[in-house]
Amino acid sequence: MLAYDFMQRALLAALLIGLAAPAVGTFIVQRRLALLGDGIGHIALTGVALGLVTSTSPLLGAIVVSVLGAICIELLRTRGRTGGDVALALLFYGGLAGGVLVTNFAPGGSTSSLLSYLFGSISSVSEQDLLVIALLVAAVLGVLVLLRRELFVLCQDEEVARAAGLRTGLLSMMLAVIAALTIVVAMRVVGLLLVSALMVVPVAAAQQLTRGFRATALLAMLFGMLAAVGGLAGSYQFSVGEVNISPGPAIVMVALAIFVLSAAGGFLVRRRHAPSLAGPVMSGGGPVSEETS
């Protein structure tokens, strides 16, 4: 499948997003804002529609509107009297309805032009798209590496972060903006409706097997890349004749399969270690049988 240029580009794009989305997702999940990605994804749809209507770039529209939306969510969450979940819900509906309505105003505006953004269109990634994706992913990962300690403290306990003199408002905003950029990038690969899955599911899968934050983040990034490549390859392999498998949903299904496998694996590992944790401390680690005692 790598004989085709479009598949090479698709594969690179998938790898980059499989790497970046779970990296941001680890901090988002730690902050218990797992649905933040969904909220921003819906808002981005309005941006795409604005790009279509004004015949400019849907990508640019999505970037501008989703970054603004992310800032709105943060302000609503911290300043307003609405809880985080309600703030997200408001933007979910506003973004989706706005996206469809704005598209109706486009010349010959049919909502079918939105479909490729809703569910992804990775096989149509151009060289220029790939460059934009690579730059945005590099920026996102760079900011995460630079701010990793501050973001860890912030996501762990916002009050402790403030007592340590961190500028929590600014940091929260940075995280939301990074999430928004990641979502716009991932829009091409899995689509806006499934974007959040790539941020959350690999993290959920990784933490079945890990004890630490760093380990979770690294394993989630590995799982993300596996899911992206596996889903893409699967959709290519199984698309024969009339059957046409969309890569986006295939990637999400592979990620979910990885989650089920790690949940089962984690359960087995914990069950094996449970007796040795409950009983007296032993050097061997395994349960002691009657004969040895």
Binding site: T26, Q30, R149, A161, A163, A164, V203
Partner: protein, 262 residues
């Protein structure tokens, strides 16, 4: 300029309003270096809010606050905050070492990786609290007492001069409470200033140099710690004092009246 005589925390006529309701009504409080101060009072008396006001986590509606003699204090590495938390951690697991290491945040620069000094301080903090053997464990799987020790180790890792703890005894069993008292007495011996929000003095009593009792957002007693008496002193008394119930308030009044110092 900071001098040796500067109070660690000073609050003059501090009023705090949260959601339109005044929680603290004109608090005057001065905490000096080397003191071990217990902020006490029934639930809803404003003791946690007072601590958060001292740290600048809630804004003052009016009044003046200074930390180490400065109204615009920035050197947060000097203060270690231990929040009231029975369960630590967010949605992602974190190891004990990761949590304790994060206490170095105010002393680290963004671009540099953790230094040898960072790792040494983290090691000392974990050893001081007896959680070094748990370094690789996930915090969420530890007991309440162990989690509390991890949170204190996190504050200590920043090598602060002052420790501020909100209810460090909550959810900690008697044996761990005594272990905690031993640790704190070591820290007091090293010259740390300690501010504690406490519901009961418990095994910390001998360490406390000053106590401040709040009731309805006002200081009603300051000086030596009040002697526990009556119902509260009985072992097995479950310290559940629902908000706005008259009984615990009168209990505190009885305590205050008994010591007779205002």
């Amino acid at each position: 300029m900071e001098t040796m005589m500067d109070a660690v925390f000073e609050l003059q006529d501090g009023h705090v309003r949260l959601d339109g309701r005044e929680i603290l009504h004109g608090i005057d409080l001065r905490i000096c270096p080397g003191e071990v101060v217990a902020l006490m009072g029934p639930n809803g008396s404003g003791k946690s809010t007072l601590v958060r006001a001292l740290l600048g986590l809630v804004p003052l509606a009016s009044g003046r606050r200074s930390v180490f003699g400065s109204a615009r204090f920035r050197d947060w590495a000097r203060i270690g905050y231990v929040p009231q938390r029975l369960s630590v951690g967010g949605g992602v697991p974190a190891t004990v070492r990761e949590i304790v290491s994060s206490g170095r945040i105010a002393r680290q620069s963004r671009l540099r990786p953790a230094s040898r000094a960072d790792r040494a301080a983290v090691g000392r903090a974990m050893a001081a609290l007896g959680v070094d053997h748990l370094a690789g464990q996930s915090v969420s799987r530890l007991s309440g007492g162990q989690q509390q020790r991890v949170l204190i180790a996190r504050a200590l890792a920043g090598e602060p001069d002052v420790l501020v703890m909100d209810e460090p005894l909550a959810g900690v069993d008697a044996e761990n409470q005594r272990a905690l008292a031993d640790t704190l007495s070591l820290l007091v011996g090293q010259g740390h200033t300690i501010v504690l929000v406490l519901h009961e003095l418990g095994p910390l009593e001998p360490l406390i140099t000053h106590s401040v009792v709040l009731e309805h957002g006002r200081i009603v007693h300051r000086g030596a710690p009040p002697e526990p008496s009556g119902e509260c002193a009985l072992p097995g008394h479950d310290h559940v004092h629902p908000h706005a119930e008259p009984e615990p308030v009168s209990l505190w009044r009885a305590l205050v009246g008994k010591t007779g110092r205002h």
